[in-house]
């Protein structure tokens, strides 16, 4: 007989295993908390409800975009269309605002439909025609930007008052809606990852071949990941419109690299298989918080970029360090 490594079924409930902690968003949460602490010490007014509200309102579009991109990156793909879809969703909301709470829902439905449509094109081209994702989504990004320019030639338009004011406010005057949305996305992810679709997503990213031989429909899983991504990008464009109260045909451009930086900061591996949406949300929040911290500590001139770049590298090294330390303990 073979050697017996696992003699008794391990206890799976109770405390999370070291592996679970490492694979979770733990390192990036630590980084986030450290930065938040520094920030609130240097600038105590950061703890006021208004500051928190504005910080999260400002961060939410990037957080949603990063959440969406995570779905694609987890299965081993890449999606540049994020910039195009956000711009497109942003201008659509600003050109066709519908008043009232129901109007806000109608607008949301519109942008999510747009995101799904573009996502479906991406998914079809990448999963079924087997075009390299980075190139295919570059093309769809360019097309989306063109459509956005046709819809709105220059920044302008306006969004409904409900979106502009209610969606950026706080519930019961205590919890910013942006935070509620972010938490809802985390809850959604924690459920989704245990569904068959969620497992398939991670499995395809881990080992495409093995997943296929296990009976997982790889192409459909890929396709679905682009749909999820598109929907989240649409929502990101929607929240961008709510926050800025206008449309901008170039509104999505800054999101292109920042989204992937956020995902990478969260520790999700490019190439797939490891990581998660929660980590990406914190990655995005960290990037936006960094802007605040840099301002607060007075690094704000020509050399801001030096510090930003250094922090990004250090954050990734820190995550790797945590992983190395904990996995060493794990193997003993």
């Amino acid at each position: 007989m073979a050697s017996i490594e696992v003699n008794t079924p391990r206890q799976s409930r109770g405390l999370p295993t070291v592996r679970q902690i490492v694979e979770s968003a733990f390192p990036i949460i630590v980084i986030y908390v450290v930065m938040a602490t520094i920030y609130s010490v240097v600038q105590p007014s950061a703890l006021s409800l208004y500051s928190i509200e504005s910080l999260f309102n400002n961060s939410l579009p990037l957080m949603l975009a990063a959440a969406g991109a995570t779905f694609v990156i987890l299965q081993g793909g890449f999606d540049l269309s994020v910039a195009g879809i956000i711009s497109l969703a942003n201008v659509v909301v600003a050109v066709a605002p519908v008043e009232g709470p129901l109007g806000a829902v109608a607008n949301l439905a519109m942008v999510i439909a747009i995101g799904l449509l573009v996502g479906a094109v991406n998914g079809y081209v990448v999963a079924y025609l087997r075009i390299q994702a980075i190139a295919a989504t570059l093309a769809t990004m360019i097309i989306c930007k063109g459509v956005a320019l046709l819809i709105l030639g220059a920044p302008g338009g306006y969004v409904s008052d409900f979106m502009a004011y209610e969606l950026t406010a706080s519930i019961f005057g205590a919890v910013p809606i942006a935070v509620v949305i972010a938490v809802a996305v985390m809850v959604f992810w924690s459920v989704f990852r245990t569904t068959n679709s969620g497992r398939s997503l991670l499995a395809v990213g881990q080992d495409e071949n093995a997943a296929a031989l296990s009976g997982i429909d790889v192409a459909r899983t890929r396709f679905a990941s682009f749909l999820w991504a598109g929907a989240f990008y649409g929502a990101a464009g929607y929240m961008l419109a709510a926050q800025t109260a206008t449309g901008n045909p170039n509104g999505g451009d800054p999101f292109l690299l920042l989204t992937f930086a956020a995902v990478a900061l969260g520790g999700t591996a490019f190439g797939g298989g490891r990581g998660g949406v929660t980590a990406s949300l914190f990655g995005a929040a960290t990037l936006m918080l960094m802007q605040k911290v840099l301002f607060a500590v007075g690094v704000s001139s020509f050399y801001t970029g030096v510090i930003q770049g250094a922090i990004m590298i250090l954050a990734v090294l820190f995550s790797a360090f945590v992983q190395a330390v904990t996995s060493r303990r794990n193997s003993l």
């Binding site: 208004y50 504005s54 910080l55 800025t244 170039n250």
Partner: protein, 413 residues
């Protein structure tokens, strides 16, 4: 700094000890603890001559007495992401800024935070680019008719007919949109004018050169180029394609362009045109108005009337005059080659509004030796017309929006 050491210690103690709500006590009230105004200079994109000159002018003024002792100026560069500038505005408001003089990245996205800042008593002075939020002051040349005036000048130079290129700015940008609309308003009146290519040059010399080269591949027989900033690149592309032929070019205020306009060799092979467009001096003007309001020597304008027009510089080829010294003196408006880079935007001075400045101010942000801040002339402030999407939101543009101010049509359609 607004927040003194004691305040910080207190804040820390409150944070650590009680860990409870610390109301934002440090809102804008008056001057900073050491008796200075806390002014932020907020840039979005930095990295071309125009932006750094505009910033340097403000820095030079802030270092000129008496501002030297009454102003604490902090420069913040946010980058091209509106979210970052929003975040930085928020931080400035939280730090208790008295005023923010800024180049806004977006005419619309910043409105909300600007509005909030106004409520906290912060003065917002936007230069060159504008915001549509009515509580902010917009000091800009945009409404002064760059597009239509240069277009008419080009039409005049072409005698009302010919193939032209439009070298535009950034797609989806409201300033580019305004300039182009003005220009097209003129071009459309002349059936003889044929816009054969239209491309975006991102207000950058090198991009203009490449894009113009591409357009020239299709239309080597072009008769004229209407350009926004980056115009010097268009001339280089023309020379590259054919060193023996130039065509009329209108553009903005780079020193290289003005030197080219005055170059007899170039004139001989067909160059003609006018240099107009965005002057970096707007930033200094904005800063001085803001300081006068803060110091109480000038009445704040009522909301809705805070759009101030900066006069459009206008230098046709025959009006180019080289400066001997480091200032615009005796009507000169261009620096000799070698003194400044060709991309240097010459409109950094204004003898009436900004007599304090010299070349060192624009290039390095240094105050001029012996200069003191002079009060603005009484008639300095000229209201700008409403332009929806530029400096107001739901408003009507005047009917004569595109009327010509600098040039008369010499040919009829």
């Amino acid at each position: 700094m607004k927040l003194t050491k004691t305040a910080k210690a207190l804040a820390l103690a409150a944070l650590v000890g009680a860990g409870t709500q610390l109301a934002s006590t440090d809102v804008a009230s008056a001057k900073t603890a050491d008796g200075k105004w806390l002014i932020y200079l907020s840039l979005s994109y930095s990295g071309n001559s125009w932006q750094s000159e505009a910033a340097n002018i403000v820095k030079a003024l802030a270092a000129t007495p008496p501002f030297k002792d009454t102003v604490e100026l902090v420069e913040v560069i946010s980058g091209t992401d509106p979210q970052a500038q929003i975040s930085d505005y928020e931080s400035m408001i939280a730090k208790g800024a008295d005023g923010i003089v800024s180049f806004p990245i977006s005419s619309t996205a910043l409105n909300r935070v600007v509005q909030r800042g106004c409520k906290e008593g912060v003065l917002f002075f936007m230069y060159d680019a504008t915001v549509t939020e009515q509580c902010a002051y917009n000091i800009s040349y945009i409404t002064s008719g760059f597009g239509e005036n240069t277009a008419q000048a080009l039409v005049n130079a072409l005698d009302g007919k010919g193939k032209i290129f439009l070298s535009r700015g950034v797609p989806g940008n409201s300033v580019d949109d305004r300039h182009t609309n003005g220009a097209m308003h003129i071009f459309n009146q002349y059936p003889g004018i044929d816009v054969v290519a239209e491309y975006y040059s991102y207000w950058d010399d090198r991009t203009t050169q490449q894009e113009t080269a591409k357009a020239l591949a299709a239309h080597p027989d072009v008769d004229g180029i209407w350009a926004q900033a980056g115009e010097y690149g268009a001339i280089q592309a023309l020379l590259q394609a054919n060193p023996n032929r130039l065509v009329p070019v209108t553009g903005e205020n780079s020193n290289g362009f003005r030197l080219a306009l005055a170059n007899p060799d170039y004139q001989a092979i067909g160059l003609d045109g006018v240099s107009a467009g965005s002057p970096p001096a707007q930033s200094g003007f904005a800063f001085k108005i803001m300081m006068e309001i803060l110091n109480g020597t000038r009445e704040p304008l009522p909301e809705g009337q805070r759009n101030i027009e900066y006069p459009l510089p206008w230098v046709p080829g025959d009006a180019v005059k080289l400066c001997e010294g480091d200032k615009f003196e005796n009507g000169c408006n261009t620096f000799p080659e070698g003194k400044v880079p060709s991309s240097f935007v010459t409109e950094v001075f204004n003898p009436e509004l900004l007599p304090e400045l010299s070349l060192a101010s624009a290039l390095e942000g240094k105050p001029t030796e012996g200069a003191e801040i002079q009060p603005l002339p009484a008639d300095a402030v000229k209201a700008a017309p409403n332009e929806p999407g530029i400096n107001c939101r739901q408003c009507e543009a005047p009917e004569n929006l595109y009327h010509l101010t600098k040039v008369e049509p010499t040919v009829q359609p």
